[in-house]
Structures are given as C-alpha cells and as structure tokens.
C-alpha cells in the first residue's frame, strides 16, 4: 500500500501548474470584453435562412456599424423584391433602442418596436437580443472546464443573467478560444433550461482584430438555421457618426 502523504504530495504537485494559470469565469469574460475591437466596420453579408423543411431563402446585405455594433445601418441588395429596404439600429443605455425601416415601395420610414427582444431579426434565427452586446456586469460567470473544439483549446464559460436582469435566456454556455479570447461556440438555454440555439462562429485576423467570417445559428427546437457569411470586410475606415441617421437609409452607398 502506498503512503498517503506521498500520494497527496504528488497530487498537489500535479495541480500547481493549473492553479498558477487558472482564471475565474469572470476574468475570462472581462478579458473577452476588453479584446480589441474595430471602431467601425463595413461588410457585405449573405444570409441564408433554412426552414424545418430544408427550404432556403437568401439575402445579400450591405452593413456599416460602429461603436461595437451599437450603431448599425444595413441595406438589402438582393433578392430583387427586397432591394432598397434599409434598416437602422441605434442602441441606447438608458432608453429604448431606436429601430427604423425604410420601405421604398411606400416611400416611408417606419419605426419598429424594440420591446420584444426575443423577436426574430428579419426572419432569421437571430433575435434582437442575440445581436446586442452582453453587458459584462449583467451576468455572473463560471468556468465549467476546458475542451478542444476543432483543435482549438477552449474554456467552457457559463454566463447567467444576474437577478433582476430580464433576459429571454436562462444561461449561456460559451466555448472561448484560449488563444484569441473569442467565442467559438455559444449555446443559449431557454427558461426551461433546454438548449434553444447553438451559434458557431469562424474568424479571420485583420489588422490584429478577430473578425467574424461566418456565423451559423441553429434553433435546435424549431429545427431551423441561419448562416451569415461575411465578405468585403473593411475596418476602421473612419465612418462619420452622422451616417447613422434616418435620411441615409434611402440611398445604398456604393
């Protein structure tokens, strides 16, 4: 029989390297939040929606965003039926977000409610809540372990809204790349604590930023999915703040 003291010593020595480098969930979330992001970004996106019967709908969108995506304007380029429709979103900290839609056939701009954060954005599997940034201090974090995803070592980070914070999800489980501190996979659980959506992200380095090149969202309960593919990405181009105004919806920039 081995000596118990010797066993404990060996165990402790094995644990030391881990303890020396271990981070708390909060620290990982904070590090992610502090990751360098572009001041503004221009891109074209192809959005493919697939319904439960496997039928697809494809749209092409031009997007300009700034201020960590808190201000965004998008124009539909295709399909032909949607060409010219444009959408403006401005998030506010202390008041309801502003959302406006330009409807060229009616020659009208219409404001849209932002009360229902769980609503789908443009019929996709992304809700408005999915598209807004998660405020660091509104969640509690727990490091659930580590796992390799497609050869990328990841932290498994669980985020739960703090009491009093109203969200449509009960919790998130995020697989965070250790090297780049970006989310590789993000799983959202509904209020019954059942997996609702699974988001898989791919990135590309540009000017030291990790820019998304593809976002695949699957609603596992509805059996639908949305694939967003990014192209022609430009960052820090010096977008004028006054671009994010209603009048600019009416003209698609070249």
């Amino acid at each position: 029989m081995k000596h118990p003291i010797r066993q404990l010593t060996v165990f402790t020595l094995l644990l030391v390297p881990f303890l020396l480098t271990a981070q708390t969930g909060y620290e990982i979330a904070k590090a992610m939040d502090e990751t360098l992001s572009p001041k503004d970004m221009k891109a074209e996106m192809t959005m493919v929606l697939t319904n439960k019967q496997g039928k697809t709908r494809e749209s092409t969108i031009r997007s300009i965003s700034a201020n960590d995506n808190r201000e965004q304007i998008i124009w539909f380029l295709s399909p032909a039926d949607d060409k010219g429709v444009a959408f403006l979103k401005i998030e506010h900290q202390d008041q309801d977000d502003e959302m406006r839609l330009w409807l060229p056939a009616f020659n009208k701009v219409r404001r849209i409610s932002s009360k229902k954060k769980a609503d789908s954005f443009m019929g996709s599997d992304l809700s408005y809540e999915d598209m807004t940034s998660r405020e660091l201090d509104e969640y509690t974090y727990e490091l659930k372990g580590e796992q390799e995803i497609d050869g990328i070592p990841c932290y498994i980070l669980e985020s739960t809204p703090k009491e009093g914070i109203t969200r449509t999800y009960k919790r998130f489980v995020t697989y965070v790349s250790k090297a780049d501190l970006v989310a590789i996979i993000d799983e959202a659980y509904d209020m019954r604590d059942e997996l609702l959506k699974r988001r898989v992200m791919k990135y590309e380095k540009q000017k030291s930023y990790n820019l998304p090149v593809e976002i695949y969202v699957e609603n596992v309960q509805k059996n639908t999915n949305t694939r967003l593919t990014f192209s022609k990405q430009e960052v820090d181009t010096g977008v004028e703040p006054d671009l994010f105004q209603e009048k600019n919806l009416k003209r698609i920039p070249q």
Binding site: N51, Q53, K55, R57, F76, D81, D82, V85, F87, M99, L101, L103, P104, A105, F106, K108, V109, R110, R111, I112, S113, K115, K116, D119, S120, F121, M122, G123, K222
Partner: protein, 767 residues
C-alpha cells in the same frame, strides 16, 4: 372424417377437454401483445388521393385539423382580469401537452398597431395579470378586428375560444386526455365546451369502447338468461358460456400474436374492432345452441348420453361446418374494405370462428359426455314452451305456403322500393343523441363560435402578386357567403391588416396594396418585428403556396359535396385559371372515406352472398341449394336497407359497415334448414311431411339462437347513435334472417320439393 370428430368427444372426452383448454391458453397468451389503438387517424387509408393531398398540405403547413376549447360563463363578460389570468394559465398548460404543436388564444396572439409612423407587433394580452386599461385596449383592438375577435371570443363575448393545433401525425387521443386534465385542473368553475373533428376522433374511440363493453356485458347476461329460460338447465348454459368465452380468448390472443409477429396496424384493436367480441359471441352461441338443442332432443328419445352426442354430431357437423365456412367467407370479404383495420378484423374473427367451430364440435360435446345428465330432468324430458310455440308456428307456415310466399314477396318488394328512398348522409353531430354533452358542445360551438369544422383551399400561385391576392380575397368573400361558413382566413387578411397599420391604422387602407413591391415591403416590415412562424400556417416559405381556411359549422357529407361543387363552379366561372387551387382538408378526406366505405360495404355484402351461394351449391352438390341458401339473407339485406329508406334512417358508413358485418351472423339459419331438409329427403325420400319434420328439427334452435343473440340489442341503450344502430341491426338481422328462413325459405322448399326430390334422387344415384 365425421367419425374422427365424433370419437374425440365420445371416446376421448377428457383428453379433448384438456387439449382444447391448453391450446386456448397457449393462443390466449397473445393477449399480452394486444394493443388498443384509440387514434382514429391511424385507421384512415393513406393512398386515397384526397388523403395524399391533405398529408402533403400538413407537411407544408402543419396540421390544419384543430381542436377547440371554449370556456366562460353564459351571459357574462369573458374579458375580466380573473378569466384572462385563467386563459393565460390554460394556454401555457395546454401548450405543454404531449403532441400539441401550437395553442392559439387571446393570451398568446399578437397584435399589430400602427400610429404616427410606428408599427409594433406585440402581445395582445401583455401579461397574466392585466389592468383595466389593458383590458379596454384588448377590447378596442378586437372590436376593430372582427376576424381576430371571431376566432378568440364567442359571439356575445362571454366565452374564450382556444384553438389547439396537434403536431402532424400526433395522437389525438393522447392530446384530448392531456387537454381534459388541464381543463379539470384549471376550469372547474367555468362552462367548458369542446369541439373539432380531431377532438371527436381523439375522444370517441375510448368513450364508445367503454360504452359498448358495458352494454356487451348486459347483452351477454341477457343471452344467458334467455338460454336458461329455454334450456331450464344451468350446466347446459354453463357449457355454452365456457365455449363462447374460450372462443373469445382464442380470438383476442390471436389478434395480439398477429400484431406482435407482423407489426401490422391491421391488428391494432381500434374503434372499428369494437363489434368483434359481440359478433364472435353470437356466432359461437349459435353453434352451441344447435348442438345442445339437438342433444336434448336425442336424449329425450334414447336417454343415452354418448349415443345422443354421437347422433347430434352426425347430423350437425356438416351444417355447423358450412355455417362456419360461409360466415368466414362473409368476413373475409372485408378484404375489399379500404381500411386496414377491417382486414385484421376479417382475419382474426375468421380464426375465432374456426376455433368456435372446433370447440363446438369437440370440446362442447366432450363436456356433454363427461357431465352426468338426469334423464328425468325437465331439460331432457320435456320440450320447453318456446320450443312448442316454434313448432306450432312452423306448422301454420307449412300449411299455407302460397299465402306465406306471396306475403313475403310483397314485404321484400316494399323493401326494394324503400331502397330507392334511402338517403346517404353523414353528419358527425348526429352520431350523438340531442341531450348528449358532446352534441351540445358541438351545437354551442356552431351557434356561438366559428364552428368546429374547416375546409382548406390550397392555392399555388405567386402570393406576393396583388392580382392573386385580390382573387383570393374574392374567393374568401364567396366562401363567407355560404351559410355554413363562419369565417375565412388567408394571407390576404394579414396583408390587408398590415397595409392598414402602416398607414396609421386608417381603415381606408385595409386593402391589398397595388404593387408587388409594396406587398413585399409589408412582409419585410413584419419580419422585423413579428415571428416569421406567424405566417407558417397561411403561406409557405417561398410565398408560392397558400391556404385559405374556411371555418364552418358541422355539415353533412351531402352538404360537403354540394359546397365543393359550388366552389368548383365559382372558380371555373370567375377566371381563376392562374391560381392552381385544390380543395382539401379533413372534411374532403372524410367525404371520400365515407363514400369508399359505403362502396366497399356493398361490394362486401354482394361478394358474401355470391360466395355463400357457391359454397352451399358445392357442398350440397347442386346450384339450386346455393340459390335457396341465399333467399333469406338476400331478403334480409333488401329489407334492412329498404326499411331504413322508408323510415328515414340515413345510411352512413357505420350502418353500411355494420350491415356487412351482421350478415355473417345471419347466414347460418338457411344452411341448417337446407341441410336438415336434405337429410330427410335422402333418408326418407319425398314425404308429405318433409317440411314439417324439418321445421321440428331446425325451427326451435334457429329461433332460440336468434332470440338469445337479440340480447345484444342492449346496444340500443348506448349513448352513441351508431351503436344504437348496431343494436337495432342485430335485432333486425336476427329476426329477418330467422323468420325469413322459417317462412320464405321453408315455403320455397315446400313448393319446389318435387323438383328438389328429383335433384337429390339423381345425386344419390351419382354418389
């Protein structure tokens, strides 16, 4: 061969009893695989064109066959805080019920508001607890949107309407049980009404089976009492009872084994199989009654048990075998039926009949041999009053053959005339007595809500085209002009509402926009604020297929045919060629199903009669016997449908199907009579008293058999009108086939006895 059967009971009675019981137990172990199927949808044929279309539609749009639950207080105002909170809870709880795809009620409907350049899609009932101002906002919105109001509230605003969409191929019986549990927990203080075709199909099978099984027990007791009064001997009744129960165990076990071994849905025990136990009980009873009656008659003469058993079997093995064979032929004709369950019905009951025949010819005589009979007991020594009456009745018939034949022909002709008056019509509502709670609920739903039936128009066209949408709107206007249609809903309604909202809720804009771009912009606008699934029951993903659903009051199959014809005429007259429109829905499937069952039931009836004639002709060795064998049965069929026509009883798929089934029970009598007539002809030659002798032999068991089986007329006390029809049909079939045999067949044989004697003489020489 005949001697082998006789030896089994006379020489080896104990061995035969033990073997019969062991084999029954062995087959009976299949009961553990016996599966009761209460999901009516599983029974429908999947290869009928209307079913294929409907299934495709359900794959695309989800189930269109809704269940409805209404609750409230008559004369009250449903829009109050307490009732809205209950509606909220019930809506959520019902959404959790297994196999429920979606629950639609005021509590989870969205509202669309537009004002001062703003469009918002939000919840109509914002929370469980609502304030007075929120209630008044809901009320105002419903007053402005009549179609939404009609779907969610009763005409007087005193009841809520909840619509439940089952998942495609979901089990309606499971849903109904789940919903009823929710209602029992939450709606105890409210009046609750249920409706919808899927509710009926989900709730009826269990209710009918429970009802029939209870009445079947009453019928069985009645049957045994009639036998007891007639036999005046408890062990004799016990012997019949044991024989029929063993037959039943064997058949049920076989049904279970077949399901286990084949996995075929044909061997599920569904609502269509409900009559199986009753039918087998009556058939097994018939065989037993004939053997025991004959045994007592022989005992009265010889007082020798073994000799009497042997003599009874000697004269009855062939007729009982032929009765079994013809009955099996009648049941196997069910293979023409379009419903898979009826194939399983036909096979299992045929096996049950074979076993009943074997038990009656081996097991039952063995029991007679083993039992110690007192020669001086009343059962053995004296004929019963009933027996004396039947013999006297037979004598009167035989004395007046021409008059009886003439009267019988007149009756059959009247029946034939009645067939032309027959009204073929099915209205599910009329399957219940007026005082039945289900019927009252259905009538409430028809009077106060939007009805419980629906019809779909599947439209293949460019559903973003204003021209197409305007045409859909005009079709809906046409549909709503029909008195049975309460409401029509399509994507055109949603577009009109969005158009109004985007124009600051101006009612003048509740129209289809004038350009395709505008229609498209409205869809895009909605997708920014509403759930894209909101339209999934109205239009497909590509906006190439749409549904215009008409909510309707309960109508009959005849009215469905008329309505569909009217729609087709309207569409052909009004330039709708560019819209590829298919009329579909459960109603259309039901219309086709009823027509199929009626057709197949008639084919089955005619096929049975022909096969019975062929079997009788083959075994009695001349076509004339085949023709004679079907006289009582054919007359009974003519009278059955004819009297229905004369007395205004609608012919529906259930009555037709039951008629086809009950024919199998009524076929025996003629076989027994002809068989005995031939025995006398061959044994004694043509004597003036041949008909009298035959009547003495056969009249009493035929009438006793018929009378005891009539105890299953207990079904007349059922809650369900089709079951009442079954009880009535059972009584009618027993009277018409037994009386037909002892009158029409008896006098036909009497009048043609010289020709028949020549036929038999030739056959005797040939043999």
């Amino acid at each position: 061969m005949k001697q082998w059967f006789i030896d089994q009971s006379v020489v080896h009675p104990k061995r035969s009893i033990i073997l019969s019981i062991l084999l029954t137990i062995l087959m009976g172990t299949g009961i553990k695989y016996f599966v009761v199927e209460d999901d009516f949808m599983k029974l429908l044929p999947q290869d009928v064109q209307s079913m294929i279309t409907w299934n495709n539609l359900r794959d695309e749009f989800g189930s269109t066959d809704l269940m409805f639950v209404a609750f409230g207080h008559s004369g009250g105002d449903a829009l109050n805080p307490e009732s809205l909170a209950t509606l909220w809870d019930v809506t959520q709880a019902m959404a959790e019920v297994e196999d429920v795809d979606e629950v639609i009620s005021l509590a989870n409907m969205d509202r669309m508001d537009g004002d001062e350049g703003f469009l918002e899609v939000s919840s109509l009932q914002p929370a469980r607890e609502v304030s007075d101002s929120e209630i008044s906002s809901i009320r105002d919105y419903l007053d402005d949107n009549s179609k939404i109001r009609a779907r969610s509230l009763s005409r007087n605003g005193d009841y809520f309407n909840i619509m439940i969409r089952p998942v495609v191929n979901g089990r309606n019986d499971v849903i109904v049980q789940g919903l009823q549990k929710v209602a029992a927990e939450n709606l105890i203080s409210y009046d609750v009404h249920w409706g919808g075709q899927s509710y009926l199909t989900g709730s009826l099978p269990l209710m009918i089976r429970t009802d029939v099984m209870a009445l079947m027990r009453v019928g069985l007791i009645g049957m045994l009492l009639i036998l007891l009064l007639s036999f005046r001997n408890i062990p004799a009744v016990g012997i019949v009872l044991v024989t029929i129960l063993l037959s039943l165990v064997f058949m049920v076990g076989f049904h279970g084994w077949m399901y286990h071994l084949t996995g075929s849905d044909a061997f599920l025990f569904s609502i269509l199989n409900t009559s199986m136990p009753i039918i087998l009980l009556t058939i097994a009873n018939s065989y037993g009654v004939h053997i025991i009656t004959k045994f007592f008659r022989k005992m009265r003469l010889t007082q020798d048990v073994k000799g009497s058993v042997a003599a009874s079997l000697d004269s009855l093995i062939l007729p009982v075998f032929l009765a079994a064979l013809t009955t099996i032929a009648a049941f196997l004709s069910m293979i023409f039926a379009p419903l898979e369950s009826l194939l399983g019905y036909g096979i299992s009951i045929s096996v049950g009949i074979v076993w009943a025949w074997l038990l009656t010819t081996i097991f039952l005589p063995s029991l007679l041999v083993v039992k110690k009979w007192k020669p001086d007991s009343v059962a053995v020594s004296k004929a019963s009053g009933f027996e004396s009456f039947v013999v006297a009745f037979g004598d009167q018939v035989i004395k007046r053959p021409k008059m009886i034949l003439g009267a019988a022909i007149v009756v059959v002709l009247i029946g034939a005339y009645g067939i032309f008056q027959l009204n073929i019509e099915v209205n599910m509502k009329h399957f219940f007595k007026p005082e039945n709670p289900i019927r009252q609920s259905l009538e409430f739903m028809d009077d106060e809500m939007t009805g419980t039936m629906d019809l779909q128009l599947l439209i293949n066209a460019d559903l973003k085209s204003p021209e197409v949408l305007n045409k859909i709107e005009s079709i809906q206007t046409f549909m709503e002009s029909h008195p049975s249609v309460t409401l029509s809903i399509s994507i055109a309604d949603v577009i009109k509402l969005m158009h109004r909202m985007i124009n600051d809720n101006d009612p003048a804009f509740e129209t289809i926009p004038d350009t395709r771009e505008k229609v498209n912009n409205l869809f895009t606008l909605y997708s920014m604020s509403g759930d894209p699934d909101d339209f999934s029951s109205l239009v497909d993903y590509d906006y190439r297929k749409g549904l215009a659903t008409s909510m309707m009051r309960a109508i009959s199959t005849r009215e469905i045919v008329q309505l569909v014809d009217e729609i087709e005429v309207f569409l052909s007259q009004n330039d709708y060629e560019d819209l590829d429109i298919t009329i579909t829905g459960m109603l259309v499937v039901f219309r086709d199903l009823v027509s199929l069952i009626l057709k197949s039931s008639f084919i089955s009836i005619f096929a049975s009669i022909i096969v019975i004639a062929l079997i009788a002709a083959y075994f009695f060795k001349h076509w004339i016997w085949g023709a004679m064998a079907i006289i009582p049965l054919s007359s009974a069929v003519i009278l059955n449908f004819g009297l229905m026509g004369i007395f205004g009883i609608d012919l529906n798929h259930v009555t037709a199907l039951l008629s086809a089934i009950i024919i199998g029970v009524g076929v025996d009598f003629a076989i027994h009579y002809i068989s005995q007539f031939r025995v006398h002809l061959r044994r004694e030659g043509l004597t003036p008293s041949i008909s009298h002798a035959t009547m003495q032999d056969v009249g009493y068991p035929v009438m006793l058999d018929a009378a005891s089986n009539m105890a299953f007329g207990s079904l007349l006390f059922s809650e369900f009108i089709p079951m009442i029809h079954m009880g009535g049909l059972m009584i009618f079939a027993m009277i018409s086939t037994s009386v037909g045999t002892l009158t029409l067949l008896a006098v036909s044989l009497e009048l043609s006895k010289h020709y028949l004697a020549k036929v038999e003489a030739v056959k005797i020489i040939e043999d």
